[in-house]
């Protein structure tokens, strides 16, 4: 049954791309609405799963159970604030979002700057010929992107642009072609029932 549903849904999804008829378009739109509704219900399942998992940790006093208390408190407080006080501008919910969640998200995102630096340090170390080419290329690109590169000479930003537009673009397109073909064959395997691992079966 799941394979049949998958086959029919996959074939319809393929066919609708080639048909502009309103009947096909409206059917596809309805199916997409069903996907959103299913996602909303699975979101409830996900939240219940979070509660269940953290309750277990707290009740069994497992490792790091203190973080579970904070997690559950945060979920409950935000939900109560949203339902009770609304989500309009000036509400408690929006205040907590703007003054707690947004700074926390910004903090996590700010880690990226340091992680880029540490990854670049490890990646660009001169270990062999390939790493040397990578290092030289990165140097040209970085100089080409800042005013210092232009001060050195017009050839620096021009070289950076050439590297980005020619060899880098060629490699990127080759990878994209491979990804595209892989996506097509994976999707066809799923639609035709050749691939069943996502159902947990052979």
């Amino acid at each position: 049954m799941p394979l049949a549903v998958c086959f029919l849904a996959g074939v319809f999804g393929l066919v609708q791309y080639f048909s502009p008829h309103p009947m096909v378009v409206s059917t596809y739109s309805t199916l997409l609405d069903w996907v959103q509704i299913i996602f909303a219900f699975t979101l409830i399942v996900g939240v219940l799963s979070v509660f269940q998992m953290h309750f277990k940790r707290i009740s069994r006093r497992e490792r790091f159970w203190g973080f579970s208390i904070i997690t559950l408190m945060a979920i409950v407080v935000m939900a109560v604030a949203g339902f009770a006080g609304g989500t309009d501008s000036g509400s408690v919910f929006v205040w907590m979002f703007d003054n707690m969640q947004v700074p926390m998200q910004s903090t996590v995102f700010a880690l990226l700057a340091f992680f880029v630096a540490s990854a670049a340090y490890r990646g660009f170390r001169l270990r062999n010929v390939e790493a040397g080419i990578l290092l030289a290329t990165a140097l040209v690109i970085m100089l080409g992107r800042i005013p210092v590169g232009e001060l050195i000479g017009d050839f620096v930003p021009a070289s950076a642009e050439w590297i980005l537009n020619v060899p880098s673009m060629a490699a990127k397109r080759a990878v994209l072609i491979g990804i595209g073909l892989g996506s097509i064959t994976t999707a066809l395997r799923v639609i035709l029932g050749i691939e069943r691992s996502y159902l947990g079966r052979n």
Partner: protein, 373 residues
């Protein structure tokens, strides 16, 4: 009898001749969902409009007297799309060109709009799709008669056993996460779940914990099924812990923070970052690197791929991620579909060469035909 043949001739002429003079035509817009009529005129054949540069377009229902102004177009446009008509209703059109003291009217119609079942603009895509499907079916059928196709060694996939074995020896868990950028509909996520099945079987065999945090509850549900079935197949049903496959947050950075928290606290010895990743890719990879984990990564994002190549021990590039299912299970049918990717790649390269040669000699035919969607 003569009247009959004359009538027949008029009917045939009406069927095959344009509905108006050669200068102005109105046709049901082809390959659309209905509700539109396309008007075409020729700027050079417009009689008496030597000083005109704009056209006023009118429309009326058949049988009605009054004309309704619907648009003003430049003479040089030579076409206009009227998308405010009802399907099945006949309309007549008039265009008026005014220049200096003279004006010129042309008429077209009756014409009715209708919806088409097939979009002819996507014929190129249809041909490509049929080529892919037929190639896949043919190669899959052929594979039954021959020995399985050969796939070159893929270091990232060969490292899966090593990574899980390392985690087992160190007494630490394995972490597998499919990234924030995709949902269950993406082939990349399906490919990641295929690899999850194999990894889960290995962790069950080696009696090692497996954590699977995700941002999508649908992926969580699918992963629960995959992991549970893998554990049951290995005879380790009692080892399966449903709490190890959990939903974190739909927010990108909330998900990244949650996974980083799991990595920092539980210190997995092996981390699999396989799926669609966005900006959180390097955050996760560097945190994994900081706890000394062996990391195998793969994604369909070319930008995040470069970060993974720098931060992870093994990276599956491009289609290697999609070849994993066949590579790990050695299933003949799946391996044959991987070979289909190679055959299609050869076809694409041949088209690229042909197109480049044609463009070099001044012909854009192939490029225009392929680009028409």
């Amino acid at each position: 009898m003569r009247a009959f043949w004359l009538l027949l001739f008029c009917v045939i002429s009406a069927l095959f001749c344009p509905v108006a003079s050669a200068e102005f035509t109105a046709i049901d817009t082809p390959s659309d969902g209905g509700g539109s009529v396309t008007l075409c005129w020729s700027a050079y054949d417009f009689v008496g409009s030597s000083a005109a540069d704009t056209l006023t377009i009118y429309r009326r229902n058949v049988g009605s007297i009054a004309w309704k102004l619907i648009a003003v177009a430049a003479l040089s446009d030579e076409s206009h799309l009227d998308d405010s008509v009802a399907d099945g209703k006949p309309y007549e059109y008039m265009i008026v060109a005014r220049g200096g003291d003279s004006s010129s009217n042309l008429y077209a119609g009756p014409v009715s709009a209708s919806a088409q079942w097939y979009n002819a603009h996507r014929t190129t895509v249809l041909i490509g799709t049929l080529v892919c499907v037929l190639t896949l079916v043919a190669v899959t059928l052929l594979s039954r008669r021959n020995k399985p196709f050969y796939i070159r060694p893929i270091k990232g996939l060969e490292a899966v056993d090593e990574a899980v074995g390392r985690a087992t020896e160190m007494g630490k868990p394995v972490l597998f996460t499919p990234g924030w950028g995709g949902d269950i509909q993406r082939p990349t996520t399906i490919a990641a779940l295929n690899i999850l099945r194999y990894v889960a079987a290995k962790t069950a065999e080696y009696r090692c914990d497996l954590y699977f945090p995700t941002h999508d509850p649908v992926i969580m549900a699918a992963a629960e099924e995959v992991v549970r079935e893998s554990y049951i197949e290995q005879g380790q049903a009692d080892m399966y812990n449903a709490d190890n496959v959990f939903y974190t947050s739909s927010s990108q950075l909330g998900y990244a923070a949650a996974v980083d928290g799991v990595v920092s606290r539980y210190k997995p010895a092996a981390i699999f970052l396989l799926g669609t990743f966005e900006g959180e890719a390097l955050i996760l990879a560097e945190t994994g690197n900081s706890v000394g984990a062996m990391q195998v990564a793969g994604t369909d994002s070319t930008i995040q791929l470069s970060f993974f190549m720098v931060a992870c021990d093994f990276t599956l590039i491009g289609e290697e991620l999609f070849a994993a299912s066949g590579y790990l299970t050695k299933d003949a049918k799946i391996l044959s579909s991987v070979k289909v990717q190679d055959f299609l790649k050869i076809a694409i390269v041949a088209l690229l060469f042909a197109g480049a040669i044609m463009v070099t000699f001044g012909s854009n035919t192939l490029a225009e035909w392929i680009g028409r969607t």
